[in-house]
Symmetry: C2
Subunit: 272 residues, 2 copies
């Protein structure tokens, strides 16, 4: 049996980062993937920089110990608040989701980017800095209800629950439109949000607010793939899943994010 080309560690506070893993799988075939959801301590989105950095470091070190040769921080909040700490602390390449998202925004038409994200990501100002470094204008909008709506599955199960999610999106996007009427693109600044993409597109259409949607999960996977030399291979990738809590919930919700059923998830203890 051939050995895997590379071992990639992917980490998030929960299952959201599985949207990044989903994009990575077809781009880097034959790799060994290790995914860690730090579910005991989620959500990171409402916590302070110090706390998030501490959590991110223990997650990164765990994946390093398991053999990761490249760490993907598939969590906007951890990227915004702990990427520098991770790069400083770990002896392997570390890729976050913000710089690839900003680079993808640069490639889109127009120069004013609306970023939807959690409160902590917005408060960090990391997207504004990354977009301004690309000579783009940024308007950031915190959307704290979107993660719980996605985790509750109020997307497509019945029309009335989807209407609530659509109305919440309409309220957030109308606030954003008042603030940034001339925005040209919309960056999904949270790994939960790719699941909302069809509903966001439909909502923007009814609002006459034509924004090109940029998916930072997709942009991140592409950025990682570009740094890794892959030979054509027929070898199947392997993936191991770890969580710090709520294995059952991880298994149930995770498949929604990954797009197909998960293998058994291993419970680990990072302390705290």
């Amino acid at each position: 049996m051939p050995t895997p080309t590379i071992t990639l560690g992917v980490f998030d506070s929960g299952f959201g980062g599985l949207t990044v893993l989903r994009e990575l799988l077809p781009l880097i075939p034959g790799a060994r993937y290790l995914y860690l959801g730090d579910t005991a301590r989620l959500p990171y989105g409402s916590k302070s920089r110090e706390t998030i950095a501490r959590y991110a470091l223990s997650s990164g070190r765990f994946l390093l110990e398991q053999g990761a040769q490249h760490l993907v921080v598939a969590c906007n909040t951890a990227t915004a608040l702990a990427l520098d700490d991770l790069k400083h602390d770990l002896p392997i390449p570390v890729t976050g989701v913000i710089a690839p998202g900003a680079a993808a925004a640069k490639a889109a038409p127009g120069s004013h980017v609306l970023v939807l994200a959690t409160s902590a990501t917005v408060q960090s100002g990391a997207y504004t800095r990354a977009l301004e470094a690309q000579d783009l204008t940024a308007t950031e909008k915190a959307c704290p209800l979107l993660v719980p709506l996605v985790e509750e599955g109020w997307l497509d199960n019945t029309s009335e629950t989807q209407s609530v999610t659509a109305e919440v999106l309409r309220i957030y996007l109308a606030e954003a439109q008042r603030e940034a009427p001339h925005a040209t693109s919309l960056l999904l600044g949270c790994t939960h949000y790719p699941l909302l993409k069809p509903l966001i597109e439909a909502t923007l259409l009814t609002m006459n607010y034509p924004l090109q949607i940029i998916d930072s999960a997709q942009a991140t996977a592409l950025a990682v793939a570009r740094t890794i030399h892959t030979e054509p291979t027929t070898q199947i990738s392997s993936a191991s899943f770890y969580a710090t809590d709520s294995i059952e919930k991880f298994q149930r919700l995770g498949s929604r994010f990954l797009g197909h059923p998960l293998p058994p998830v291993e419970l680990i203890d990072l302390g705290g």
Copy 2:
């Protein structure tokens, strides 16, 4: 200056427990109150029993070290999953929110109680056990979106955000009505929910679902007050506030739960 009659420790995963403290203040005057919000590790509602018990014990021990003579677990999830551990571990009386809520339901007319709570509280079955011990029938309904809606303040700021909260309540209550059409009372099984009481009452009215609302925060404060001998006093109570993270958010949201502005909140570290 007279010494306080008693030092009461009140603990929750966040600010929700302030609804219990708000009820305690007028009932036990002249006391010293210590309130701890374990905000670094919230929400407890989606975590496992082991994790919640570990968090609750470290919070309880902290308040004991600060001089608490009675611990009020002002958190439904911690009561459901860690009350026995706390009672076993701490050398002071410990009161949770579930038994007082069940006793208040017993005093209400009718015998079928609908309980609204977080997923973890519902999964624990603690309310069903407590209500069945009172010869009552229980139907528990998990409402994961209500806490984020309350924390987002979508209660009264503009009519369109309040409409979203009302629609979410209507969806949850309609599901509950299909399951328990003959329920007679509704127990608010989460310390965030007292802030939703007016909206719940209005929603029930439009649904023709006449339930008497039982507020477990109020019931718990009454239960604690009954166990404490208080002399008439003109002494002013004192209150200290501790949080494990996000002091600014605690300060901002906390006043909404307490009903008046909070004094400065002290940041503490419980590890993890």
